[in-house]
Each structure stands twice: as C-alpha cells, then as structure tokens.
Amino acid sequence: MFLAVLGRDLVLAGRQGGESGLALLFFVLGAVLFPLGLGPERGMQAGLGLLWVVALLAALLSLERLFRADWEDGALDLLAARPEPLVAAVLAKCAVHWLATGLPMAVIAPLLGSMLAAPSERLGLLALSFLVGTPALTLIGAAGAALTLGARLGGVLTAILVLPLYIPVLIFGAAAAEGREGALALLAAMSLTALALAPAAAAAALRHAVEQ
C-alpha cells in the first residue's frame, strides 16, 4: 500500500505541480522580502536563520492540501478501510510532500544563501541543514494537518498548532546552517523522533476524521 500511495501521489504531484511549486515560489519571494524590507545591508547581516523562518512558513502553506483532497473525494475512507495500517499511507504522503517541497527547498537554499552574501563554504552546510531538517517540518506538519481536517478556519488553526512545535526545528536548523557544533546532530534527532511519533499521531487523527 505504501508503494501504491507513493506512486499515485507522485504522479499527481507531477501532473498538477502547481501547489508545491507555489510553496517553493513563496519560499523564494519570502527570502527576497527580507533584504528589501530591512535594507540590503541589514538583510544580509540577518544571516541564514531567516531562510529557515521562510522555509517554515512555506512548509505551512503547502500543508493545507496534504490530506484535504483525499478527504473530500473519499479516497481517505478507502485507505482507512484497508487492512494495512493507515500509518503506511501517511508515510507515503509525507514522503511525496517532502520530495515536492523539502528537497527542492534544500536545492534552492544555497542559491538564496549566496544572494544573502553567505560565504560560499557555508552554502553546503546550509543545504545539508535543510536536507536533515525539512523531514521534521513535513512530519510534524502532517500531524497538524490531519488534526484540523474538517475544522473551521482549518488553515489558520494548522499554523497555530504546528508553529510552536516547529520552534525547536527552527532553532537548531538555523544553528546548523551557521555551523554551530552539534546542532546538525540534534536536527537529525528531531527528524528521526518526528518520523517515529508524528505518523502515528497523524494516522490516529485521520481515523477519527474518517469515522465521524
């Protein structure tokens, strides 16, 4: 079932393309706004942490649609009715979401970093911090998106639930991008912890959303 959902969602993401592409565009635009708003000098001094802030917000934007389409057209009911655990489907959807947003962000981040005048030897580290940290954003966000399925003000509510849980990722993501010792390991630990806990929470929330 994991592979079936993975394949279907990859095809869907490839054909539609728009949603994750828009999230990436938001990531670029948001990063450009900071030097413009703060003035080029201070924007460049603000450091690579602001890229992480924008990445957080871009990830939030793309979460809204993670389960909603499947929930609306009933695909989620069919997935929940299958004997395989729902966690597998959640993991597959998270994998696709990460491939469509986290991975491209990690590719774009060094470009934006050089626009913010980061020293070139830092850019590899920046991309690495994104590679290690963005899975946590996707996984925690999936739990939040599943919880708010069918809620009034779903999008805003997801942000309010998910952003506090994103704070540790933001702190250590920015620290890892700046090359702080041990931050990358802690970031990896967060992604792995999220991998262990968040899909189960998301699956439980999805089941409750389907049952009612």
Binding site: A143, T148, G150, A151, L161, P168, Q212
Partner: protein, 242 residues
C-alpha cells in the same frame, strides 16, 4: 484505583462526590493562600543579593510547577479518553486547559517581572523561557482545536491527540536548564538529596504550592460540574415534553 475511576464515570455519582469535596478544597486553598502570602511577603527573610525581589519566587515557582503538572494531567486525561474512552477523562483534560494556560501566563509574567531586577532584562531567548512560551501556545492551540469543530466527539479526539503530541515539550521544559547552560537557574527543590534552599524560604514556597494545587482542584471540579450540567441540559432539551 481503576475501579474507583470507573465508578466516577457516572455523572450523578461524580457530582455528588464533587459536592462533598468542593468545600474542603476551596477552604484549604483560601487558608493556604492567606498563610502562604503572609509567610512569603512578611515572615520570610530577604535574599542577601536579591533583597525583596526574591519574594516573586513564591508566586512564580508554584505557578510554573502547576503549569507543567496541569499539562501532564491534561495529557494523561487525553490518553485515558483515547484508550479507555473514559467520558470524564476527556472532560477533565478539557477543563484543565484554561487553568493551565493561566498558570503558564502567571509564570511567564512573574518571571519577566523578576528578570528585570535580577538579570537586567524582561526576557531572554534561553531554552527554559522559550519552551515555557511554547507550552503556552500548546495550551492555546488545544483550546482553539476544541472550539474548531461542530461535532464535540471529533473535537475531543483531535484535541486529545494534540495534547499527547504536545507532551513531547514537557521533558524539554523540565530539563532545559540542565541540558543547556541558561540564564535561568537549575532546579533547587526537586532534586535528589536535600533541597538547596533554606527551610525559612522552602516552607512558604510549599504552602503557596499547596494553595495553588487546591485552587486548581477546586476550579477543575467547578468546571467539570458546569460541563456536566451543560450536557444534561442539552440532553433534556432533546427529550419530548412529558
């Protein structure tokens, strides 16, 4: 224990038990607040470095303890609601959220007031302060999630899952002062061996803690009673008139 909890699932029995307990918890809280405030503000010695500002501790520390333990109760209640479908556990978790958020806010505000004379700043972005701020946001998110659904059952389960996910933050708050070297001082009461605090200061602190604790129990029972009455009214409204 499990059998007693099971018996209390009956709303009528719970209401009668709560009515018997309520005057005692309310009375204990009032007495402890009066005694604790007198001990803390008048009868306890001033700190040789912090002078009178140390008295903020007698409000700050109990509020922070209650903020953490209320979230723990909320998470336990949510687990009880999800696993055993205990009707009262879910309501207890829901009723805990608002007092918990208030305790967290009190801890943050008194901490800021205490920070200015002792650290020279209202706020620092260290691990303890940040994680307590996250705790406040978790409480608010939990309450917002309860209100976001028309269906109370769905709201209850979604909020329960959120409470369990957010419980990850509890050990971070508790151990943040040990894991990272922060401006906030490490634990000096709840540690192995003797507390690193003089009995003349520890006594008012514990009395204030008892006051906060019984205040919380009182508020929780009152809120639970209100929610149960609300449900009963809704159920009565559905019945045809005799």
């Amino acid at each position: 224990m499990a059998r007693h909890l099971h018996r209390l699932a009956n709303p009528g029995r719970f209401r009668r038990a709560a009515e018997r307990v309520l005057p005692w918890t309310a009375g204990t809280s009032v007495v402890a607040f009066i005694a604790g405030l007198w001990l803390a503000l008048v009868a306890s010695p001033i700190d040789y470095q912090q002078k009178d500002s140390v008295r903020i501790m007698y409000v700050h520390v109990p509020a922070a303890w209650m903020a953490l333990s209320t979230y723990a109760i909320m998470a336990l209640g949510s687990a009880g609601a999800l696993i055993w479908r205990h009707p009262l556990a879910e309501l207890a978790a829901r009723a805990s959220a608002a007092p918990g958020a208030c305790f967290t806010l009190i801890a943050l505000v008194t901490g800021s007031l205490w920070g200015l004379p002792t650290w020279g700043t209202w706020w620092v972005w260290d691990a303890r302060l940040t994680s307590v701020l996250v705790l406040l946001f978790l409480y608010i998110g939990y309450m917002a999630l309860w209100r976001a659904f028309d269906e109370p059952r769905r709201a209850g389960r979604a909020a329960a899952v959120l409470a369990l996910v957010g419980a990850v933050n509890l050990p971070i708050v508790k151990f943040s002062v040990d894991w990272w070297s922060t401006l906030h001082q490490p634990a000096s009461v709840s540690r192995f061996g003797a507390p690193a605090m003089d009995p003349t200061m520890l006594r008012p602190l514990l009395v204030m803690y008892a006051a906060f604790l019984f205040f919380w129990v009182t508020v929780l029972l009152l809120r639970l009673r209100a929610v149960l009455a609300e449900r009963r009214l809704a159920a009565l409204a559905l019945q045809p008139p005799p």
